[in-house]
Symmetry: C2
Subunit: 196 residues, 2 copies
């Protein structure tokens, strides 16, 4: 296996880093977390395992970094003036292919995070907490506008509803989630549960 | 590996069948669907692979049968007189350990069903359709009593909400779902989304 040109963190180019992360996510979707080995990452990216460990420390950290890097939709800057508008802007900023790829990642990770506390911690720090913070800011603005009651019991479950929407359709309907499905789920379930 | 005494379908005892299914589900929770091999099932249950294939035909069929056999909560006969009562009776008929075991199965299957159409078909026929039919009967009685509008847009998403509740808590909170969580989710999300 050929050694790549990157030997120290400071030498890696943003393009090379992006390429590595994409390869990690492709492997994750194809084979799942357990079967994703540092050997497979090294082979697919033409890197040495030593380089991977030196750059990222461990497999959970590499996977979490790749997930964080990949995340294409930032919700932190969405502010349309209504909660319904904000939710639908979240959907409008993605596309069906991206939704299917994200669903595949969630499916591949749902089993793995339970078995790997290190992966779960890395995911929480890099991916889940920042997203929940962004979602929370969006919901708190709706509370401040008077669209939502601050003590609405469904507020704390918005992340659960969204994760469920991504994963459940494949399991129940044997079809991937897509924009039309997510929009209808937001209008039919999430907004009514919030009383909006 | 020792051959078991069962050589034809008619010779298998219900006890032996239950033991085999439990072993399959334990393997599924431990290693996931992809890593579950007929060899591993044969070893753990002290059966021959030939016996397993003769009795069940294929790995997806064996797994689907095991899941169907295991399902301890039948919702078909729940009828408390109110939708809220019916939902909470569903929760009351299980326990925290069972919920965690069912969540582990869903996590292990969420990735696999996408990659294995045969498994998904077997799951649909044996597990998903009968459960959705039971859930639908319960919801239709609520419509007949006037608790729910027949055209409520959240009606078709009740299975998605429930599957999401089972899977999302582990991913988001790093804690398994339990009875207290499911009860609160039903009261906070499912019933309000249905306008009840």
């Amino acid at each position: 296996m050929a050694k790549c040109a990157v030997s120290r963190r400071s030498r890696i180019t943003p393009e090379r880093e992006a390429e590595l992360y994409e390869a990690v996510l492709d492997l994750l979707r194809d084979v799942g977390y357990d079967a994703l080995t540092m050997d497979a990452v090294a082979t697919r990216t033409r890197s040495s395992k030593a380089t991977l460990y030196r750059q990222w420390g461990s497999k959970p950290q590499l996977v979490a970094r790749a997930l964080r890097h990949h995340k294409p939709v930032s919700i932190a800057d969405i502010d349309t003036g209504t909660l319904r508008g904000d939710f639908h802007e979240m959907v409008a900023r993605t596309d069906d292919q991206q939704i299917e790829k994200d669903s595949a990642l969630l499916r591949g990770l749902a089993h793995a995070v339970h078995e790997n506390p290190d992966l779960h911690q890395a995911l929480r720090d890099l991916l889940i907490e920042p997203e929940i913070t962004g979602l929370d800011a969006l919901l708190q603005r709706a509370v401040a506008r008077g669209e939502l009651a601050a003590d609405n019991p469904a507020l704390k479950y918005v992340p659960h509803m969204l994760v469920g929407a991504f994963i459940a359709r494949q399991l129940i309907e044997a079809r991937p989630a897509d924009r039309a499905f997510l929009s209808d789920f937001l209008d039919s379930v999430v907004l009514p549960a919030l009383g909006v």
